[in-house]
Symmetry: C2
């Protein structure tokens, strides 16, 4: 309940109540992960006095077990804004903060109450960026299974296999190990690897081609994310140079990491190294925070205003992409601890030739 206390501190100055609608935020504040991810089944309302879960009667048993929360029932006959209205009137709420990046237009139009609506200033997202011990433990488990998945998948890379089949093998391996994928795995062969978000297709693997694998695991609601680029056959000198440059950029960025620096300066460190070798700049950000979602705060990008601090977990994933030729990306998760950065994904980062 420290998380709720933290929010209540902010309620004093900026707004009277906070409407929480995003599922990761609901899991973060309640610890309950049983609401549907496909439909809007619940909202939280944190006021100065109380904490409400706006949901339907099916969940009344669950809500009763969650200490510190009270059920405000909604149903097909009574939408969330009606339940909200009663609380707003009862508790004399003047200024209601909402999550503008999550709430739909039609939802906010339903709030027909004399209340001032304002943005929530990403209050919860900022809290989520700094992980506690339990969160680190869950991410560690996800990273470990990611490493195991990579080891397994190396044994499955064979001539003639398609990107799709390899992607499916990643997914099945993770499922069999009692976890889920944190996103649809990216598998890109040869010149397909020059597209950072390639969708695995029917391309068959041939000798001397690049194999780019980008996948993540979800355990106890927490995500991992990693990318490895390996060579099926012998890497030629151009490919080797590409690989070494990306690895150097990543190493430089990780060595540069410390608390209280701008995330953008880390991005710059890796980006400048790649540019200095005559390669095109990274067409995406260097990294992103990770936790209940694959992409969360902080953002390690050129324009980011985020500052790094102890307890954060994020990816460092430089890449070089040459259209028509191929690409190399190396991605690891880093935990910024009291004694400096610690790489959480442990799989081999040296050039692998199969």
């Amino acid at each position: 309940m420290d998380r709720i206390k933290n929010i209540k501190k902010n309620l004093k100055g900026n707004f009277d109540a906070l409407l929480v609608s995003s599922l990761p935020n609901i899991i973060f504040l309640t610890g309950f992960d049983g609401f549907s991810s496909e439909e809007r089944e619940a909202y939280l309302l944190i006021t100065k006095r109380k904490n409400y879960i706006l949901t339907d009667a099916r969940y009344s048993e669950v809500v009763n077990k969650l200490s510190g929360f009270e059920l405000a029932e909604i149903s097909s006959n009574r939408h969330f804004a009606q339940a909200l209205k009663e609380i707003v009137l009862k508790e004399k709420i003047n200024k209601l903060a909402i999550d503008e990046d999550n709430l739909k237009v039609s939802e906010v139009l339903k709030i027909k109450i004399a209340v001032k609506i304002c943005p929530d200033e990403s209050l919860i997202e900022k809290m989520r960026a700094v992980k506690d011990e339990n969160e680190i433990e869950s991410i560690k488990k996800a990273c470990n299974l990611g490493d195991k998945t990579f080891e397994y998948i190396l044994t499955q890379i064979k001539s003639g296999i398609t990107e799709k089949t390899l992607a499916k093998k990643i997914e099945i391996f993770i499922l069999k190990n009692n976890a889920a994928v944190s996103f649809r795995p990216i598998v890109a062969f040869s010149k397909n690897s020059s597209s950072p978000h390639h969708v695995a297709g029917n391309k068959k693997l041939e000798k001397n081609e690049i194999v780019l694998l980008d996948f993540g695991v979800k355990i106890e609601n927490y995500c991992s994310d990693m990318t490895r680029t390996v060579f099926f056959g012998k890497a030629n000198n151009t490919q080797k140079k590409l690989y070494q440059t990306v690895l150097e950029a990543q190493t430089k960025a990780i060595e540069y990491l410390k608390s209280s620096i701008n995330a953008s300066s880390v991005d710059k460190t890796a980006r400048e190294h790649i540019e200095s070798q005559g390669y095109p700049t990274i067409p995406h950000s260097l990294g992103h925070g990770i936790g209940l979602e694959v992409h969360e705060k902080p953002s390690l990008s050129p324009k980011s205003k985020d500052e790094l601090s102890i307890g954060m977990v994020f990816s460092i994933e430089p890449g070089i992409y040459i259209p028509g030729f191929g690409g190399v990306r190396i991605e690891d998760l880093v935990f910024l601890g009291k004694n400096g950065p610690k790489i959480m994904t442990r799989a081999n980062r040296e050039l692998i030739e199969l």
Copy 2:
């Protein structure tokens, strides 16, 4: 491009341009399914004169291949509303329709243009409710694999197996058959089956317990959905009566189906039969349309204003749920053809005792 033509007809009267933001709608109109489902990567803008895809340069090759669409480039330096503004000014658009159920508050706040914003009247969702031959073919494939999955899973139901393990087996079987699940499978044993949306847990199966299985397949972007309730051991008389009543309610509803009737009257048919036998009413709607999404138009619920018409595909899924005892639900997909309703899911609907 008939779909786009259909939209343009509506543009004449109601609004000058339509901003399309939901991914299923983008797939429906372009046929391209490569945009991320996790992040907002693209919007469509359908105007009287042209059709634009607002997306970043990574997709320029794809957009060039899509006949009838023009790229309006967006990037991290140029958000969609800026690209939108240029088109609005160039084409003198006065009234812009948006998807209020999909667009986020923060997105609509970015549209700082002198343009009247209005709801899109679910134009595309209404079109999507009536399927063409290709769509029916894809749903049929998904249903067939669903049937195969059910046959397979019957061989896996054993004493001591957990709900989670059985749910995982469903997922792996579907993946191995080159498809994806259309939603997280529901597996509920014994009294857990009295919760319509139970999340598979660690409950172990014991003799003479109910096994409720609700799962779906996604093939070529189209979904299936089915529920079967089977008995591990012998069903007692109470369970048999429950099962027969649900099956009768489903049969009555399917026999009642024809074109040009209110969806609510179908719901009523099943609901009244269940109530007439002294059971609690169905705590959810009788059914829902299905296609690119698991839940789409029409809605077969007591308050639905939708009318059924030829070409629609929807579920018929009555259920009886008795807290502390258990529940029975039987769900099939029905295609409303010229010659009447046709059940697309073919798995055995008679009471199964294992």
